[in-house]
Symmetry: C2
Subunit: 400 residues, 2 copies
C-alpha cells in the first residue's frame, strides 16, 4: 500500500474530532447535549434568499464564471460601497466560502516555507489552509487578561523576519469575539507599510458588532491599498453557511489576476449559492437589527451568567458570537471530554471547544474554552446551569 503524503499526515485534524465521538455516545445514552462548541447559527436565513430558490426559473444548472456571476459581483460591490468601502466589481473574486478565499489568498501571496503572523488564539482552520499551502503561521499571543486585545507593537515586530509575508487578522475575532479598534488597525497598518507585507483581513463577522461599536474595515486603511486583501463570506451575515459563498476583495489587481488562475482551475464557485447570496443582498435592514438584538441579549446573559460561576472569567466581547472563557480546570480538553463522557445533570450536558486548538504555542489555552452563543436563550440558560453544576464536581477542578 503506497504511503500518504507528509502534508496529509501533518494536516491538523479538527480540534474537536475526538469530542464529536463522545457527544454521539452521550446522545445515544439519551442525554441532551447543548452545543456551545459550534459556529452554526440558529438564526433563519432571510426569506428573500429562500424565495429566490423556490422561484428559480432555470433548466440547466450551468457553470458560472470562475470569478463569480458578474450580476452578483456588481450587487456585492454596491453593498461594500454602502458601508464605505470604495471598490467596484472588478475588485471582487467570488470564492467557495470564506475558506477558499483564505486558501487562494495564501497560495497567491505566500511561498511554501514563508510565514504569516497572526494573533493567537486564532481560527483553527488557518492552520489547515497554511499546511495545505505549505506555509507557516507564526502566532503573537494575546491574553484573556486584557480581553484578547492586540498585542503590543513591539511583540508583533519581534516576529517579523525576512520570511514574513503578511499578517492575518480576523475582525471581529473568531474565537475571542474581540473587535479591533481603529487605533489598533492603525498600528497594524504602520507595520504593514513599514515592512511592505500583505494584510489578510478576515471580516466575515462584520455585521456582528454590539454596544453600538463600529467595525472598521482594513479596506479603509490609507497608504496600504495594494497590501490589503479582505476575506469575506456570506455564511454568517445571512446565516447561510451551507451555500459556500465567500469572496476575495482587494484593490491589488495582480493578486486578483493570480487568484483567478486558482479559481479557473476549479471552474466555478457554487451557482445556486450565488443565486441565494445575490438575493440576500435585498434583506431588509430590520433583519439585521433583530439579529443584533438577539445576539446582544444572548451575549449579555451568557457573559453575566458565566462570570457568576466561581472561578470562571468571561470577557465581554463586542463582536462575532463567540467568547473565550477562563475555566477553573486542570485541562480544558480533559474537562470537555469528561463533560460528554462522564457527566450529566438532569439528563443534560454541554459540549465546549477547548481553546488549546486555537493556540499554536504549546501549552497555551489549557484552561480556556471557546463558547458560542448561537443557541436560543432558553438553551443557553440550561447550558450554563449544566456547566455550573459540572464545575462543582469535576475532579480536575482548580482554584483561582
Amino acid at each position: 500500500m503506497p504511503s500518504i503524503s507528509e502534508k496529509g499526515r501533518s494536516m491538523p485534524p479538527s480540534p474537536i474530532r475526538k469530542l464529536v465521538h463522545y457527544a454521539e455516545e452521550a446522545k445515544r445514552k439519551g442525554i441532551k447535549v447543548y452545543h456551545l462548541n459550534i459556529g452554526q447559527p440558529d438564526i433563519k436565513t432571510p426569506e428573500v434568499a429562500i424565495e429566490a430558490l423556490k422561484n428559480l426559473n432555470i433548466n440547466i444548472l450551468e457553470y458560472t464564471h470562475s470569478a463569480g456571476n458578474e450580476s452578483y459581483r456588481r450587487k456585492l460591490s454596491d453593498y461594500y460601497r454602502s458601508i464605505g468601502i470604495g471598490i467596484d466589481y472588478t475588485n471582487i473574486l467570488i470564492t467557495t466560502g470564506g475558506s477558499e478565499a483564505v486558501l487562494f489568498a495564501l497560495m497567491t501571496c505566500v511561498n511554501p516555507g514563508e510565514e504569516v503572523i497572526t494573533p493567537e488564539p486564532f481560527y483553527a482552520n488557518y492552520n489547515g489552509f497554511a499546511t495545505a499551502a505549505g506555509i507557516k503561521i507564526i502566532p503573537i499571543t494575546s491574553s484573556i487578561k486584557n480581553d484578547f486585545a492586540l498585542p503590543p507593537i513591539k511583540e508583533i515586530e519581534k516576529k517579523i523576519t525576512d520570511k514574513t509575508k503578511g499578517i492575518i487578522i480576523c475582525n471581529p475575532n473568531n474565537p475571542t469575539g474581540y473587535l479591533y479598534s481603529k487605533e489598533e488597525l492603525f498600528i497594524i497598518r504602520d507595520i504593514i507599510k513599514k515592512h511592505d507585507i500583505f494584510l489578510f483581513s478576515d471580516e466575515v463577522y462584520r455585521e456582528f458588532c454590539y454596544d453600538r461599536a463600529e467595525h472598521y474595515s482594513a479596506m479603509l486603511l490609507d497608504g496600504i491599498e495594494q497590501n490589503v486583501i479582505m476575506l469575506d463570506s456570506v455564511s454568517k451575515r445571512y446565516s447561510a453557511c451551507g451555500i459556500r459563498i465567500g469572496a476575495i476583495v482587494t484593490r491589488n489587481y495582480e493578486v486578483l489576476g493570480t487568484a483567478l488562475k486558482f479559481a479557473q482551475a476549479r471552474l466555478s464557485p457554487p451557482g445556486l449559492g450565488q443565486i441565494v447570496a445575490e438575493a440576500s443582498l435585498d434583506t431588509p435592514a430590520e433583519y439585521f437589527r433583530s439579529v443584533n438584538r438577539e445576539y446582544t441579549m444572548r451575549r449579555n446573559f451568557l457573559v453575566e451568567a458565566l462570570n457568576k460561576i466561581p472561578g470562571v472569567y468571561c470577557p465581554k466581547p463586542r463582536g462575532a458570537f463567540y467568547t473565550v472563557v477562563g475555566l477553573p480546570v486542570d485541562d480544558a480538553d480533559r474537562f470537555a471530554q469528561w463533560l460528554l463522557e462522564e457527566f450529566e445533570y438532569k439528563k443534560q450536558t454541554v459540549m465546549i471547544a477547548p481553546a488549546s486548538g486555537f493556540y499554536s504555542t504549546p501549552g497555551l489555552g489549557q484552561n480556556e474554552a471557546r463558547i458560542a452563543y448561537v443557541l436560543n436563550i432558553d438553551d443557553l440558560k440550561n447550558a450554563v446551569e449544566v456547566l455550573h453544576e459540572a464545575l462543582k464536581v469535576y475532579p480536575g477542578r482548580t482554584m483561582h
Copy 2:
C-alpha cells in the same frame, strides 16, 4: 507592493483565456460565435433535481457534514453498487466538484516535488491542481494516429522513477473522448501493482459511452484495492456543472481519513448542491437513454462531417463529448485566434480549444484542437460549415 508567490506566478492560466477576449470582441461586432470549445452541456438538468429545489422546506441553509450528508452518501453508494462497484457510504467523501476531488487526492497522496504520470493530451486543469499541490505531472504521449489509445506499457514504465507516486487517468477521456478498454486497464493495474503506486481514476464521463461500449471502472480492478482512488462528479452525469458536487471514492481508509482533514478545514461541500445531487439519483433511466441517443447522433454527425473537410482527421471516440481533431493548419492557437479575430462566414464563426493546452510536452498538439459536441445538431451543422469555409481561406493552411 509585496510580490506574489512563485506558485501563483507559475499557475497555468486557462488555455483559452486569451481567446475569450477575442470571442467577446467578435460578439460585440454582431458575429454569432459557436462554442465548440466548452464542456458545458446544453442538456437539461433532470426535472427531479430542479423540483427538489423548488420544494425545499428549510429555514436555515446550514453547514453539512464535512464529508457530505450521510443520506446523500448512502444513496450514492447504492448507485455505485448498481453499476457493480461494491462499496458503501464510508468509502465516499463528497467534494466541491470533481475539481476538489482531484486537488484533495493529490494533496493527500503526493508530496511536493513528487510525480504523477498521465497520458497526454490530458485535462488541462490537472496542471493547475498539480501546481497548487506543488507536484509534477509527467506525460506519456498518446497519439491521434492510433486514436489516442493507451501508450505501450514500456513507454509508461520508462517514466517511472523513485519520485513517481501514481498514475492519473481520465476514462472516458477529456479531451480525446477515448474509452479505455478492459485490457488497457489490466495493463495499468499491473504497473500500479508492480510499483505499488496510486491510481487516480477520473471517471466523471462514465455515463457517456457510445456504440454499446461498456465503461470499466478502475474500482473493479483486482489486487490494487488499496491503490485506487476514483474521482467523480455529478456535473456531467446530470448536466449540473454549477452545483459543484463531486466525490472521492476509495477503499483506502487512510486516504479517506486524510482527505477528510482537508475537507474539515473547508467546513463543508455545498449544501444546496448536495440536495440536488441526492434528488438526481432518482432520475429515470429514460433520461440517460435519450441523452445517449442525442450525443451519439451529434458525434456521428460531427465525426463524419469533420472527416469530409479536406486535410481534417477526426477519430471516432466512444466516450465523453469531446474529440481531438487534426487540422491542416500551421498552428492551432493562431488558427483559433484568427477564427475569432479575422474570420466570419455569414456573420458566424467558431471558437475551438487549441490542443496545445492539453499537452505538457512542448510543441505537441500544434495542429490539433479539442472540439466538444455539447451544442444541438443545427448549431453543430453551422459550426462545421463555418470551419470548412475557414479552412479554405486561412492563410496558415498546410497540406497533408
